[in-house]
Symmetry: C2
Subunit: 241 residues, 2 copies
DNA sequence: CGTTATCTTGACCGTCGTCAAACAGGGTGG
DNA sequence: CCACCCTGTTTGACGACGGTCAAGATAACG
């Protein structure tokens, strides 16, 4: 369970056992609560076991920018073990289950086992790559493409967990949160989403959200999953987006 | 010289010697040339020794988004050693001097010396933090604040290299490039910059760019240097922005 | 000194933001 | 079971920030 976070990172042999043997405690957070706050200092590393969360920052004018969406298996605050205080907030979108690991345990494991250290670095670098793509999205794409791109990213990332990219998934974000993620207002997100639905590219019901024309939708979204680095170095791509 | 990149990252003892002893070759690039391209595979790590460069990506519509500015001491493509192909381009802004280090040398050093591995991770995390702040800047601040923020970041980062934040520095970017960095058009960057100059917040001449009212300017820019993580964990701040 | 890149300015336009109100759904309590 | 909220969605009218197009002015460069 704790080892989830190493799966999509690097092929580790049976030092998976070491990860699974890490001392940790589990905590539960309800929807909307803060897991970490801007300015926090900590000596624990936390991993998201189930549920969804997001990173965000508030500007001097009180505007919020969502920086990334965390899905099960993601490491929440590795950064604070290597730098000083947290520079952003982490808040839950849904009820979440979180594992907390003491810093020392993780660090000694990292220095003992090169493969683990590599996995941590690789994971951090994938995060950075996603940040870069978001910058492109926010800075240089129009509202429609921007929203579509975000929805594609969801589908692609959730797909790794076994859900096919065309399949419905539950989107645990309000339109206000979607707007804060892509630099738009709630109102404009609504209009844009309505437009995508009207054009038959997005289908929505209680079960979740679906993309009837996945191939066309990806083009519309200017989406190419390469930046997610879903495959290992040298691993042949299984399903190509 | 090669060790520059470890200075602002983590206090390493005399394994600085190890860094300085790394096998490397030096290459020179002229202004505007590509150091790395989207899709590149490589087994070398490169470090920027002198000059300025920038990371960027092109959208499907041909629009460019600049992702970060590289200053001397920055590692250019650590990522490609841990992931697969490059997901963005790196291009020079000025003539540049680049050190190239074989992957194996760096990796063995990282696994032998924990402090170095930590420094690499910390450096990657600072990059990620800067990406996050840029997202906030591009997504949630108006043109004037956005431009001012970028200029503040320059001043703060160059300050580490000994230039005081109020001091003039040479801005090696065209207005088109500034626009691509903050998600604006050339024309609007021009108007916005003119506005800042007219209001006495920015002063420009052949020597470079200066901020006569640094304190006021930082407020106007909604700038707080914390996200740059310029100080070590536990190190008291020397000059507070 | 001519050629090209970059900067600057004006007029006009459109995407997206603002303000406001109505509507739907889900939970709570009387 | 039905008022009553509260949160989130939806829609309209209007305005503004920033984009587009185009031209001229400067500066950089061979």
């Amino acid at each position: 369970m704790v080892n989830k976070f190493a799966i999509h990172v690097s092929l580790s042999d049976l030092d998976r056992a070491a990860v699974q043997g890490l001392p940790h405690s589990v905590r539960y957070f309800e929807s909307g609560s803060y897991i970490a706050r801007d300015g926090d200092l900590t000596d624990h590393c936390t991993v998201l076991l189930s549920g969804f969360a997001f990173r965000h920052k508030i500007t001097g004018q009180g505007l919020r920018q969502i920086l990334s969406i965390l899905i099960p298996g993601d490491i929440i605050n590795l950064q604070q073990l290597y730098l000083d205080a947290a520079d952003h907030n982490v808040q839950t979108l849904t009820p979440c289950k979180i594992a907390t690991i003491p810093q020392v345990a993780l660090r000694t494991m990292a220095s003992d086992r090169t493969a683990i250290a590599d996995a941590l670095i690789a994971s951090t670098m994938v995060d950075a790559s996603i940040y870069r793509e978001w910058m492109v999205n926010i800075g240089r794409r129009d509202a429609r493409t921007r929203l579509a791109h975000l929805l594609c990213e969801f589908a692609a990332r959730l797909d790794v967990q076994g859900i096919a990219p065309g399949q419905p998934y539950e989107l645990p974000m309000t339109q206000e949160q979607l707007g804060d993620a892509i630099g738009l207002t709630t109102v404009h997100v609504n209009r844009t989403l309505r437009g995508l639905i009207k054009d038959g590219l997005v289908f929505q019901n209680k079960r979740g959200i679906t993309f009837p024309e996945w191939e066309i939708f990806m083009v519309e979204a200017d989406f190419n999953s390469r930046y997610l680095h879903l495959r290992e170095r040298g691993t042949p791509p299984g399903y190509s987006f």
